[in-house]
């Protein structure tokens, strides 16, 4: 048992301090206001202070920190994307993640399990090769593997999928990991707070003050805050924020659902994704199977659950793992995914001076948390986006320069 826990047993008073200070009312002005106290917003606050010495920052969270998509995703971290730009970006995120528990001194249960994207059709196999080749090119460990190797990593998997969709092979991505999603938000919150950033929960932005094309402040339910720089990092709420500044974007909100089973002793060590069966699954450290599927097919701005989602998902889970018939699903939930037409985020500057966007994360925002925080901090500090996120700029749509991730659309995230 690690010695760090000893103090809890020995001290009479609980020796752990607050993760972040509870501030009463926001100050009159800040250098930077970050809207959205999820992983991304908090990471941006953390890196603004740590990397750029900008700590006069307020993070405004409508509800509680990490309560949006940070706390609703299935916590998969990977970088096996289709475009070199995508792979580079997410690989940078994976690299930070690998040392993040130590950096934030919070055990994020970052667990590298290996990630298999199963291919049930010849055309899926082609896409797997495409991704593998691009990954290899960029130096990320992904390769196409055959059924034998899948069976070795996950002997319980029925490779015929109960005769419904036999598995031809997979894209194996060694760095694929899962992490404790809440912890990421909390860790960044604690880090940002320690550098002086202020976190406000239950603080809603009601409007954004733009004059002559420049941001000059935000109106909140706790008063007006002057600021020249505003970062929107609100995932599924992005269109509401962009509407406040009169900015049009391609973002459309679709719910993304997930569910979780009762805990059971560990048996599934890898992360499995099947694009054809619309399933992704991993087993948490508590022993639950955490499962997700593809996006809901139509726009809804709420986190409601549907029965057909869980019916479809469990039916496909049983195709893959027939012995789970009597394993029980405990809970289902949903997040709001801000989807873009090319399945890539929108990051960086906008036509409004001082208004920065970290959005369009769709179903893949969690894995990008560290790197989006870092690059958005860089963008705000320099008022210029780094090369790493150039490809994700908002203006790409006007320029008809959409990113190539759309090719991987058939593959689950």
């Amino acid at each position: 048992m690690p010695f760090r826990l000893l103090k809890y047993a020995l001290k009479k008073e609980h020796p752990a301090p607050r993760f972040f200070k509870a501030h009463e009312m926001p100050k009159k002005s800040y250098d930077v206001v970050i809207i959205g106290g999820g992983g991304h917003g908090l990471a941006a606050a953390y890196y603004l202070a740590k990397d750029h010495g900008i700590s006069n920052v307020a993070v405004l969270e409508k509800g509680y920190i990490g309560g949006g998509n940070t706390g609703r995703n299935t916590a998969i971290v990977r970088s096996n994307y289709l475009t070199p730009e995508g792979v580079n970006f997410y690989d940078a995120s994976v690299k930070i993640y690998e040392g993040l528990s130590e950096e934030l001194d919070l055990n994020l249960f970052y667990s590298t399990r290996g990630h298999f994207t199963l291919a049930h059709t010849e055309s899926a196999m082609r896409t797997m090769r495409w991704r593998a080749e691009v990954n290899k090119h960029v130096g990320v460990e992904s390769r196409v593997v055959g059924p034998d190797e899948i069976a070795k990593a996950c002997p319980q998997l029925d490779l015929s999928c109960s005769g419904q969709a036999p598995i031809l092979g997979a894209l194996f991505h060694a760095p694929g990991s899962i992490a404790r999603h809440d912890g990421v938000a909390w860790g960044y919150a604690r880090g940002a707070d320690s550098y002086g950033a202020e976190i406000y929960q239950n603080t809603e932005v009601l409007s954004i003050d733009v004059k002559n094309g420049k941001v000059c402040g935000v109106q909140t339910n706790k008063g007006y805050i002057e600021t020249k720089q505003v970062l929107s990092a609100v995932a599924g709420f992005t269109p509401r924020i962009t509407e406040m500044v009169g900015l049009e974007t391609p973002i459309v909100i679709h719910p993304l659902q997930a569910c979780v089973t009762e805990p059971m002793k560990p048996w599934l060590d890898t992360i499995l994704v099947s694009g054809s069966l619309h399933v992704y699954v991993s087993q948490s450290s508590r022993g639950e199977l955490v499962m997700g599927s593809s996006l809901d097919p139509y726009e809804v701005h709420s986190t409601r659950s549907t029965l057909d989602f869980v019916e479809g998902l469990t039916s496909h889970m049983l195709d893959m793992f027939p012995f789970l018939s009597n394993v029980k699903v405990v809970r289902q939930w949903a997040g709001m995914a801000d989807m873009t037409p090319d399945f890539a985020p929108i990051m960086g500057k906008t036509p409004i001076e001082g208004f920065y966007l970290d959005a369009g994360w769709g179903t893949w925002g969690f894995k990008a948390t560290p790197i989006s925080g870092k690059t958005m901090a860089q963008t705000i500090a320099n008022d210029s986006a780094p090369d790493l996120i150039h490809t994700f700029r908002l203006s790409r749509f006007e320029d008809y320069e959409l990113t190539g991730e759309k090719g991987a659309a058939s593959v689950g995230h």
Partner: protein, 92 residues
Amino acid sequence: MKLLTCPINGTRPLSEFIFGGEYRQAPDQNTCSDAEWAAYVHNRQGAPGDKKEWWYHSPSGTWFIAERNTQTDKVARTYLLADAKKVVKESK
């Protein structure tokens, strides 16, 4: 499962329908600027609220318009596109 009412075939579970996206009027392609067209093609009214949308009833092959609130997911009414003018007039 949610119910939706096809103006021809009546009320059915959502699984019988395909979502066709927001109903939008394209700008005049002969007079609009490239930027306006690019915005029409890519951008969307993403904020929640009452929207006109295309829906398709699969078993019968019927396209129709649904006026739906994208936050509450409540459908105010549905009608054929051809009846849109009539519907607007009636509601006035």
